[in-house]
């Protein structure tokens, strides 16, 4: 009999979720769209070419300087990875300002060259190296030691590989916190929690129905998002799938606990969504979804590393990209599990049915 109630409660979770098209989109569609967008923006192009401009002079050009500029442009055009363009001075300045060219070369009266570029821009520094090398060679410089180049394009080190585990972690966090928090606060606001508490319903089963439904959504979510990333972008999963699933499962419970804690007292959707953003915003920024958390100062690292999302994303990345085993993942899972236990204990103490 008790099982039947649990089954009914869990069914209700599915029905309510599937009948809310927005929720379905944010859970399954949004991360895919985000991955597509980021995959396009940060796709690895075949050896990108750097554009440079060549001008005869910044002021009125003499015929000699003009000839020098033409030969420099020809030398640069022969260099792989560079695209050179002869330009009048005005448009060269504008092109440099807007980033259409990374560097502007102009010959000077003494037979040398003037390079103008922004030294804080990585592509401008690349242009500086390539242009200088090409012009010096054209002027007759010879290499002192012979070098060889071997190109390595390895899956797993691209930006899309980095960002997919981050998106997965973010999605699990959103699903747990929104999934539990929003549903519970909405039920309290409608006095539905109070009505349910007036029945013989087991309160433990009520809670369990959320965790069970999260588990099923999690499996679907993993299949959809991960399947898409693997099939479309070739993102690698080097570690064991079981380990990946365990990490995701612990993560789901951890954020479910946070969602429950947020929802334990809030009476309005407004106050609940405020609290949710308050909890999630630091993790969106700090936990290394889109860029490595190690970019933040060392003094902030103990705090950042203690955040549940940091632990989850680190564990997902280690499993997917490095193929690390339990020895690497367990300490991260311990952090997440500590959050899970802590939030559940406090949430159940604070929880109000009305």
């Amino acid at each position: 009999m008790a099982r039947r109630a649990l089954a009914q409660l869990t069914l209700v979770r599915f029905r309510e979720f599937l009948r809310e098209p927005d929720a379905v989109f944010w859970t399954f569609g949004f991360p895919i769209l985000l991955a597509i967008g980021l995959g396009i923006a940060f796709r690895n192009r075949p050896a990108e070419t750097v554009k440079v401009g060549v001008v005869a002079s910044t002021s009125a050009a003499s015929p000699e300087l003009s000839a020098l500029a033409d030969s420099a442009a020809a030398a640069l055009a022969r260099t792989p990875g560079l695209a050179a363009e002869r330009m009048p001075p005005d448009s060269a300045a504008a092109a440099l300002r807007t980033g259409r060219v990374a560097l502007v070369v102009s010959p000077d009266a003494e037979g040398g060259y003037d390079y103008r570029f922004d030294d804080t821009r990585p592509d401008a520094r690349t242009a500086r190296l390539l242009v200088d090398d090409a012009l010096q060679r054209a002027a007759g410089r010879r290499d002192v030691v012979p070098v060889q180049e071997t190109f390595v394009h390895e899956r797993g080190s691209r930006y899309i590989d980095f960002v997919v585990p981050g998106l997965l972690g973010m999605n699990i966090m959103g699903g747990g916190i929104w999934g539990l928090g929003f549903t519970i606060v909405d039920a309290r606001r409608r006095h539905l929690l109070k009505r349910l508490s007036a029945t013989p319903m087991s309160r433990g089963e009520f809670l369990l129905s959320f965790l069970l439904s999260r588990l099923v959504f999690l499996i679907v979510e993993l299949l959809v998002v991960l399947g898409f990333a693997v099939l479309v972008f070739g993102v690698p999963v080097r570690g064991s799938l079981v380990q990946l699933f365990v990490v995701a499962f612990v993560a789901s419970l951890t954020f479910g606990g946070l969602g429950l804690l947020i929802a334990s007292r809030a009476r309005t959707l407004e106050s609940a969504s405020g609290l949710m953003n308050l909890v999630m915003l630091p993790m969106w920024v700090l936990s290394g979804i889109f860029f490595s958390a190690s970019n933040f100062p060392a003094s902030a690292q103990p705090f950042i590393q203690a955040l549940p999302l940091t632990a989850v994303i680190d564990a997902l990345r280690a499993t997917m990209l490095q193929g690390s085993g339990w020895n690497v993942v367990l300490p991260e899972l311990a952090i997440a599990a500590a959050w899970m236990v802590g939030t559940f204990v406090v949430a159940l103490k604070l929880f109000r049915w009305r």
Binding site: M1, R4, A5, A7, Q8, L9, L11, V12, R15, E16, R19, E20, A187, R190, H191, L192, K194, R195, S197, A198, T199, P200, M201, R354
Partner: protein, 315 residues
């Protein structure tokens, strides 16, 4: 099943509950017999909902004793939940679920009871079984709330203002539903501020004001306690409102009590056929023009007014 032998469905003694400085329930006593439909009648804020929610085990009380089906919330909460049916005043059921799914969900919480389909039949929502709760009318939603309350085959049913805000037809449908449930020999505690509802449905009524019971009895006995079967209200033309005094009115044959209205008087009358001609004659003798004259049979509303000096709806 020791509770079955208990003579009372509900017994409340010396109940008190305060919220901060506000005393919601102030020494309230109630006894509801098995198989009885009992009404708590009173204005908004009288303490009806607080009382019923204490009896439902949803709100803790400060003082007093509450025994439900011979059991106490402190010891037998789980067993009590199985045997009570509860409809709350302001529950909004999940709008995305269908009517059938909602009843099936509530049915799954109880060990015994009729099938979900049978309950839908009882509340006449069979053809709405597949409709989303969000698409129901107010009356249908309220019948669904009652369906969720009776799905565990309760011995005692709590209905908190079940027809507030409903149109007349929906109210009648709900009354029939309550009457069918009562006919099965179950006990009901109902709160309402509609005297016609209490008069029609309830075997006994407690009139509640300021957290206490101020009158108790069958609707007929309460009305009879007025000693007057009819109420006559009249208004005088402007400028003449106070041109006749209370003593003159009480001197009329059959008039038992008077109450000043804004532009005239309300009279409690035992013999309408004597009082009205005498009133008209008295007014004509004083040359006072009537602006309006109304009579109706005495109701619970008149009982409430004569007890408190206020109308039920005034709050």
């Amino acid at each position: 099943m020791t509770a079955l032998s208990a003579p009372l469905a509900l017994s409340v003694r010396g109940l008190r509950k305060r919220y901060g400085d506000v005393v919601a329930v102030d020494g309230l006593d109630l006894e509801i017999r098995r198989g009885e439909c009992f009404g708590l009648l009173g204005p908004n804020g009288a303490g009806k909902t607080t009382t019923i929610e204490i009896c439902e085990g949803l709100t803790p009380h400060d003082e007093g004793e509450v025994e439900v089906l011979g059991m106490r919330w402190s010891h037998d909460a789980r067993a009590l939940r199985e045997r009570l049916g509860i409809q709350l005043q302001d529950t909004q059921l999940a709008e995305k679920l269908t009517v059938g799914e909602t009843v099936a969900l509530f049915r799954s919480f109880y060990r015994q009871g009729p099938s979900a389909a049978a309950v839908l039949g009882t509340v006449q929502l069979e053809e709405k079984a597949k409709a989303r709760v969000g698409t129901l009318s107010g009356g249908q939603k309220q019948r669904l709330a009652v369906a969720c309350a009776i799905v565990g085959d309760p011995e005692l049913l709590f209905l908190d203002e079940p027809t507030t805000g409903l149109d007349p037809q929906s109210r009648r449908q709900l009354w029939e539903l309550v009457e069918r449930f009562k006919a099965m020999g179950r006990s009901i505690l109902l709160t309402t501020h509609y005297m016609d509802e209490a008069q029609r449905l309830c075997d006994r009524i407690a009139i509640v004001d300021h957290g206490r019971v101020i009158a108790l009895g069958t609707p007929e006995a309460l009305i009879a306690s007025l000693g007057a079967e009819h109420v006559v209200e009249f208004e005088l033309e402007e400028g003449h409102e106070q041109a006749i005094d209370e003593a003159a009115l009480l001197a009329l044959p059959g008039v038992l009590a008077t109450r000043a209205l804004e532009r005239g008087w309300a009279l409690q009358v035992a013999r309408l056929h004597e009082a009205v001609p005498a009133l008209l004659a008295a007014l004509a003798a004083r040359g006072l023009p009537l602006a309006a004259l109304r009579t109706h049979s005495a109701t619970l509303e008149d009982v409430f007014v004569s007890l408190t000096g206020r109308q039920l709806r005034d709050g």
